[in-house]
């Protein structure tokens, strides 16, 4: 059965790896990203890999007032969506966010508010159709604020809390809401980091995401060992945690 799948932030490494697998399963895709040139390349790649139909739209998701038109466009192409994956975002420079309130708010806007806006529009459609999966890439960084990236962490924390509520609301409508919390992933977003044993490849994360969607999971830590790491991090008492250099 071909599925209609919307992928927002399609040029991100994890989204690209995920949509390739969906393309090879001959599904119908709708791809959204900011860079039009890259988007066209990825759409053509998806078609050659076997996607049945590929539609796309280039837009800057930071412009929240474009979201309504975007979602209408998607539903004009596909009257029913089976899966949506929201994968766009940026990894801000924490120091720059501390120095400039405008940068901090911009990062909150793209990493949290834009996702909330899209989810609000999509949730109503999914609630009405009474089926489907909403999957959103949040981050382990949202589990606890740390001095090294709490602006990003706060944005992701907001997304995760929003997803919890949405999951609760859509439970009766038979809609899956999946909160994806990747750890360190080797992508262009993290190109400047030194890579160690905890780092995962986007292809591996993509496989985990598809498996989690297929098995109706609520939360996915990927790779799996991040569940354990974050369990410890979440449970360190605050009077100790605040002294740590994390």
């Amino acid at each position: 059965m071909q599925k209609n799948i919307l992928i927002i932030g399609a040029t991100s490494a994890i989204a690209k790896a995920t949509l390739r697998i969906y393309a090879e399963q001959n599904n119908n895709l709708y791809l959204v990203a900011r860079n039009e040139e890259q988007l066209k390349i990825i759409a053509e790649d998806a078609k050659i890999r076997g996607a049945n139909q590929v539609e796309m739209m280039a837009c800057d998701l930071a412009e929240l007032n474009t979201h309504q038109a975007l979602i209408e466009n998607v539903y004009a192409c596909y009257p029913k969506l089976d899966i949506v994956l929201i994968a766009h975002g940026t990894l801000p420079n924490q120091q720059a966010c501390q120095d400039d309130v405008e940068i901090a708010l911009q990062e909150i806007n793209i990493n949290a508010l834009s996702t909330v806006s899209l989810l609000t529009l999509l949730a109503n459609r999914f609630e009405a159709q009474k089926s489907g999966s909403i999957a959103v890439i949040s981050s382990v960084a949202g589990d606890r604020g740390r001095q090294s990236n709490y602006v990003y962490g706060a944005a992701k924390g907001m997304v995760s809390t929003f997803l919890q509520g949405l999951r609760n609301r859509l439970n009766d409508s038979n809609v899956q809401v999946l909160d994806i919390k990747p750890g360190f992933v080797d992508t262009p977003m993290t190109a400047e980091f030194r890579k160690g044993a905890l780092w995962a490849q986007p292809e591996q994360v993509a496989q985990n995401i598809i498996k989690a969607i297929n098995s109706s999971r609520n939360t996915l830590y990927t790779p799996w060992f991040w569940w354990g790491i974050m369990f410890i991090i979440r449970n360190i008492p605050e009077f100790i945690f605040k002294k740590l250099k994390l």
């Binding site: 090879e24 040139e37 053509e44 050659i48 076997g50």
Partner: protein, 444 residues
């Protein structure tokens, strides 16, 4: 970060970048235009060249530039980014009934690497090398400008880039033709030969076979010298195959060599035992079977990290070609030298090449080519220098993709077009921007 080639010798400390868009490669070139002259940079893919040809202070890794760009279902013409791997092409296109026009003995290489090495396969005598199926390349020059080149457009640049070991620029994308297959299987015929002249005779007799290659027992001496298993292959047609799903892709192997074998496990006795058993495994003089493409083309891909078999110090692959005119006499002399040294290699592969091409540094030319692995030890290079003299004496040369130690003198004598190659590089300022440990060693 420490980097090595597949043979794990030599090692270099290198900074790697992984551009995932052509635009990033171009801007990288702009930003590195005024780099210190003594620093080197070279493109790299999946790191399967054996020696030092992808090693430099700065490594531009193209493996994330991996998109399919266009495909013509009528002609089989595929355009893709340079970092796409052969294994990915096979995974996507075998189910659609297409196969690579030419493939080397591993599928874990990139399209860019295949062009830079001008790789050859078991069908060289019929189909030539990979570049001969490439109709167009987009190359990022030292200036950061991308140019197209082909056999008719920027011709010298095309012939310098195919087989040019990444020394002319960074290949961004390429167009080449896939070939139609009906099934993913190969009808294989194996001949067991008792000596070298019989092996060569069998090659001659079966020169119409699409694929041919011989595994040769390189430790056999005397009247057994050159005894081989000669394997021929044809793409199996659908009616000859009873399997229901005939266009399926092989899953990636789960077998892995998890650690380096201690150096002493590989010695002349164990290699001899392996060779005797391998040769003895085939009983009949002629046998036939229907095999999946993966074990036929990529027997070593079935063990991940097989290069660890040669221990921590690594190994050197030695692949030479000698012209047909040197014939039996030349091969006999070289095989005798190898057998006497007792440095046998697990897989010694003999192949008859068809005609060469116009690429300045391309390896294949009409003649016999033999590939061997030798474990690295303190006396190996002196021995290989002796082999070099014999190869040179017969008018032969070594494969740059597998080389880690050839002298500048040997290179310049055996690759007579190196000066034209260098002129093209200078014309595009490539000699200032692209260099590897190998190019420095070879005086390019």
């Amino acid at each position: 970060m420490k980097l090595t080639g597949w043979g794990r010798y030599p090692t270099i400390d290198s900074q790697s970048v992984f551009p995932n868009q052509p635009g990033l490669v171009k801007s990288l070139m702009h930003s590195t235009e005024h780099k210190h002259e003594h620093l080197t940079q070279i493109a790299r893919g999946l790191g399967r060249s054996y020696g030092d040809s992808s090693l430099a202070d700065h490594s531009i890794n193209l493996s994330k530039l991996d998109n399919f760009i266009s495909f013509n279902e009528n002609t089989g013409e595929l355009t893709c980014s340079a970092g796409l791997s052969f294994s990915e092409i096979l995974r996507v296109f075998i189910p659609k009934g297409w196969f690579l026009p030419v493939t080397p003995g591993t599928q874990f290489i990139t399209v860019g690497g295949a062009i830079a090495s001008d790789v050859h396969g078991k069908n060289h005598h019929i189909d030539g090398s990979f570049s001969e199926h490439v109709s167009k390349i987009t190359l990022c020059l030292a200036s950061g400008d991308a140019v197209e080149c082909s056999a008719t457009l920027n011709t010298p640049l095309f012939h310098a880039t195919c087989g040019g070991m990444g020394l002319t620029g960074i290949i961004l994308q390429a167009t080449f033709k896939l070939k139609r297959i009906e099934t993913a299987f190969i009808d294989e015929t194996t001949f067991k030969t008792t000596n070298l002249s019989e092996t060569l005779e069998k090659f001659e007799q079966h020169d119409a076979a699409t694929y041919s290659v011989a595994w040769i027992d390189c430790l056999a001496t005397g009247k057994n010298l050159g005894r081989s298993l000669l394997m021929l292959g044809e793409h199996a047609l659908s009616e000859s195959n009873s399997n229901q799903n005939t266009l399926h892709v092989a899953p990636h192997s789960k077998l892995n060599m998890p650690l380096d074998l201690p150096g002493f496990t590989l010695n002349s006795l164990s290699v001899k035992a392996f060779n005797v058993l391998y040769y003895g495994k085939v009983r009949q003089q002629e046998s036939q079977r229907n095999v999946h493409y993966a074990p036929f083309f990529y027997p070593l891909d079935s063990i991940q990290n097989w290069n660890r078999m040669y221990g921590k110090k690594g190994f050197v692959q030695y692949q030479f070609v000698i012209p047909k005119s040197a014939g039996l006499v030349g091969l006999t002399e070289i095989l005798t030298e190898i057998a006497h040294s007792k440095r046998g290699s697990f897989l010694a592969v003999l192949k008859v090449f068809g005609k060469g091409n116009d690429n300045y540094l391309s390896f294949p030319e009409e003649g016999y080519t033999l590939a061997l692995d030798f474990k690295l030890d303190s006396t190996l290079f002196a021995f290989l220098n002796r082999l070099d003299d014999i190869v040179l004496n017969y008018g032969g040369k070594l494969y740059l993709t597998k080389d880690a130690r050839m002298s500048e003198k040997m290179f310049k004598q055996s690759y007579p077009l190196w000066e034209q190659f260098q002129e093209v590089r200078q014309q595009y300022d490539a000699h200032k921007a692209f260099n590897s440990l190998q190019s420095k060693r070879l005086g390019l």
